[in-house]
Symmetry: C2
Subunit: 205 residues, 2 copies
């Protein structure tokens, strides 16, 4: 069990209707030590991947995106959400359905902040059906950039987002994948993630 | 001229109607080096002040709040905005008019994340009429906590927020105070801020 799975078991609250509340450390109050560990763990998992921009969507993704930007020393961009369709002349616009708020959002980024030379690490706090994530991918592609990877704090393993993104060939790293949870017993089973086998490069020198 | 004033002159865009756009480094794309300097500068200006929580409001304040939480090693809380009045049983709720979106927002924090023992540093990217800031102060006081200070990136010096907060006795530090700006010439005049005189404590030892 990793640090995030342990924290979820300790401080997460399971609500009826397949809802996992992590308000106390991830998306209302921010446990800065957990955030730092997440940033370091993403950097470890994406080692060897060239990244020159961190991309997220407002609001909960901004904290982890900021600490990752700090570690990588690259700019952070957060996509904005709006229900209104303003002028799209100077914006890349995609669409995402929010299950939390039960409405369709426009997700947009001003054109000067995404480029065809960008190698983008997309990060977010939750991945469920992948609506927000696919919207962010769409924005990167509209600009001609490359999605270098996708880093998610908590993936809901029984919803379709993670499976689809992996099938589409993206390098997706979710720090905790909730396979099953039960609000009556407050129990969670996490998907076991394979350990990466690393070869010490010095052995070959 | 400090680093933020310099950055605003270099990359800010003045629009008709007293609008200063700092999207390229502060509230859409985040220049991580400017953010880090802001965090260090706030910590310097609030030296000697006991702080055990950083408070901001979604979304643009989250990046600077996160880096400050990282520096102070304390939890960060971001207040949420909503137009709907859900159950308020478990929330502190205040109200703030948004001039950007021309609507009244409920601003709320779940009760477990603010306490009567909290010494809160409130941070935000902009201060104009002080609506958001006064809502955050209200939330801290509802919980019985103390506002230890208020740190603002860009204060619009001709609007009433800064003057009111200082008159109310809050320790307000704004890294850049825009005194005048002109969109036709793209010129900005910043308020000159007094240098603090420091006494080396070792002289007395």
């Amino acid at each position: 069990m990793n640090f995030l799975e342990e924290k979820i078991l300790q401080d997460g609250v399971i609500k009826e209707g397949n809802i996992l509340k992590v308000d106390s450390f991830l998306n209302h109050q921010i446990d800065i030590d957990i955030m730092r560990q997440m940033a370091y763990e993403f950097k470890r998992r994406f080692r060897g991947t060239a990244i020159n921009k961190i991309l997220t969507i407002e609001a909960s993704g901004i904290a982890i995106a900021t600490l990752l930007g700090h570690l990588y020393d690259v700019p952070v961009v957060f996509a904005k959400k709006s229900q209104t369709a303003n002028s799209t002349d100077d914006k890349y616009v995609a669409h995402a359905y929010s299950f939390t708020h039960k409405k369709m959002n426009n997700v947009f980024i001003s054109k000067p902040y995404l480029h065809d030379t960008d190698k983008v690490l997309i990060v977010d706090d939750f991945l469920a059906d992948g609506e927000a994530c696919h919207a962010l991918i769409d924005l990167v592609h509209q600009a001609g950039g490359e999605v270098a990877g996708i880093g998610i704090a908590v993936e809901k393993g029984q919803q379709k987002g993670g499976g689809e993104l992996r099938a589409e060939g993206y390098h997706l790293e979710s720090l905790a994948i909730v396979e099953e949870m039960d609000w009556q017993t407050q129990t969670i089973r996490f998907r076991k993630q394979p350990e990466q086998t690393l070869v010490n490069p010095n052995l070959h020198s």
